[in-house]
Symmetry: C2
Subunit: 230 residues, 2 copies
DNA sequence: CCATGTGAATTCTTTCACAGCG
DNA sequence: CGCTGTGAAAGAATTCACATGG
C-alpha cells in the first residue's frame, strides 16, 4: 500500500480535496487557505499542507492556494485529466443503478462496457452502451484496452468475474461484492461495503430504548480514517 | 474517532472477521487459528490477535479459535445480535437498488422506512415497506425509534436530509452522496464513495497505452487500509 | 502580518517475538 | 508442541510549531 512513494492514505484523500475545490470554484471562490479548506472537509490544515507537500509547492505564503490551479494540479496527479473507460460486470438492481449513475462522466470515468449473465438483460442499452454477454468479458475488455473494472455481481460469482477481468488486462477493481478478492500484486482493489460499514456503526449505538437519549457522546470520525463532519 | 476506548480502525475490521467466520462455519470449519483466518482475509495473524485482545480472550492456546463462538462474540461486540431498523432516504436508481438488496436482512439490518420526494414513488412497496413522502421523514423516524439512516439522495439534498434524520433521532448515517456531511459529535457517518475510490485508483494506473503492459507493479493494499487480496 | 512548507515531536498502528497455557 | 495473548519495538501518520517568503 505504498508502491515506492506516497502513502496510499494520502492518495485516497486527494479526490476529496479535488471535489471540494471544484465545488468552491463553481461557488465563485478563487483563493483559499489550508485552514478554510480543512474546515470545509473536516481535516486539519496541517494535514492538507503535508499531503500536498508530497507532490510539490502549490500555495503562496500569506495568501493560500489558487482554487482553480490546485484543483487542476490534483486532477493531474490523479490522472483525472483524461477519461477512463470502465467495465461494469453485473446488471441486477445494483449494476443498473451504477450504469445509470450520472456522477461518473463528469469525473473522468465512462462506463464503456456492461456485462450481464441474464439473457433478458443482454442487448439492452444504457446511455448508448449495450449490455453484453458476460461470457465475452475477457476478450472485450482486452480489445477495448479497459484497465478499470467494477464488480457488481453476487458474492458467489465475484472472484470468477474479477479473475476474468484481470485476464483481460484490468489493473484496478472497484468491488461491490461482500467478498475478499484474491488478486495479483499488480492489481489494486477498493471495496464498497455498505453492510460492513453499517455493522461497524452499530458498535457506537446504544442498544436499548430505555432512556430517551443522551449520555456521553462518542466523538465522530474524520476523513483521516474514513470521512465525516464535526 | 476513539470514544474512550477502542480505535475505530479496529472496529471497522470486525465486520470482516465476523463475515469470514460465518462463511467458514457454513463451509463446515469449526476451529481456526489466527494464521489461517488472517490468510483468508489478507491481514496478519498478529493483527487479528491484537484486535481481539481489546475485547477479551477468545482463543485456546495450541488450538486456535472456535469459529462459531468467535463469530458470536464479534457479533455481540458489534451489537449484531439483534435487528436494527434503518431509514432509507432516496428512491432513485440507487435508493431502489438499496431497498431491494437482500444482503441487509441476514446481517442485522432491516429497511424499515423508505422516503422519496417524487410523488410517483410514494406509495410503492418494496418487501412490504411502503415508500413514504420525504416530508414525513423526521416524525416517522422519531416515532419508529430509528437510529440508523441511509442517505441516497442527490448531493444537493443530502445535508438537509441528514439534518432531518438527526432531528428525528438518527445517530449513525451511511452516506452515499458525494458531500461531506456536517453532523454533531454524537452522530457517526460512514461514506460510500465510489467516485473517490475510482479517482484514487487511477493514480496507480499507467496513463498511456504505449507498450502492451508490465513494468514494476505497485504493491496492492490490504484490509489494513481498505481491503483487498494479496 | 499571514499562511505556506517542513523538521521535529507526538500519537497511533502494526509487527515482532516469546512466556505461558492447554 | 502449537498457538494465544501481549509487552516491547518498529513503523506510519498526524500534529506542532516556526522559519521563511510574499
Amino acid at each position: 500500500m505504498r508502491r515506492g512513494g506516497i502513502p496510499d492514505i494520502v492518495i485516497r484523500r486527494l479526490p476529496i480535496y479535488e471535489r471540494t475545490l471544484k465545488q468552491m470554484l463553481s461557488a465563485g471562490v478563487t483563493s483559499i487557505s489550508s485552514e478554510e479548506l480543512g474546515e470545509r472537509i473536516g481535516v486539519t490544515a496541517a494535514q492538507i499542507r503535508r499531503d500536498l507537500s508530497y507532490f510539490g509547492k502549490f500555495g503562496k505564503q500569506g495568501k493560500g492556494y489558487d482554487v482553480a490551479r490546485l484543483a487542476e494540479e490534483i486532477a493531474h496527479i490523479l490522472k483525472l485529466d483524461r477519461q477512463w473507460d470502465v467495465a461494469l460486470a453485473g446488471f441486477g438492481h445494483l449494476g443498473q443503478a451504477i450504469a445509470h449513475y450520472r456522477g461518473f462522466e463528469p469525473n473522468a470515468f465512462r462506463i464503456a462496457a456492461i456485462f450481464a449473465r441474464n439473457p433478458e438483460h443482454i442487448g439492452q442499452q444504457v446511455n448508448g452502451t449495450v449490455v453484453l454477454d458476460e461470457a465475452e468479458l475477457t476478450p472485450v475488455i482486452r480489445e477495448m484496452g479497459i484497465k478499470i473494472g467494477i464488480v457488481a455481481v453476487p458474492a458467489a460469482a465475484a472472484q470468477d468475474v474479477a479473475d476474468r477481468m484481470i485476464a483481460g488486462g484490468v489493473r484496478a477493481i472497484l468491488n461491490y461484492a461482500p467478498v475478499i478478492l484474491k488478486v495479483p500484486e499488480s492489481v489494486w482493489v477498493r471495496e464498497i461495503d455498505p453492510v460492513s460499514a453499517l455493522q461497524s456503526l452499530t458498535y457506537y449505538l446504544d442498544n436499548g430504548d430505555p432512556s430517551h437519549d443522551g449520555r456521553a457522546a462518542p466523538v465522530g470520525e474524520s476523513l483521516a480514517t474514513e470521512a465525516a463532519g464535526h
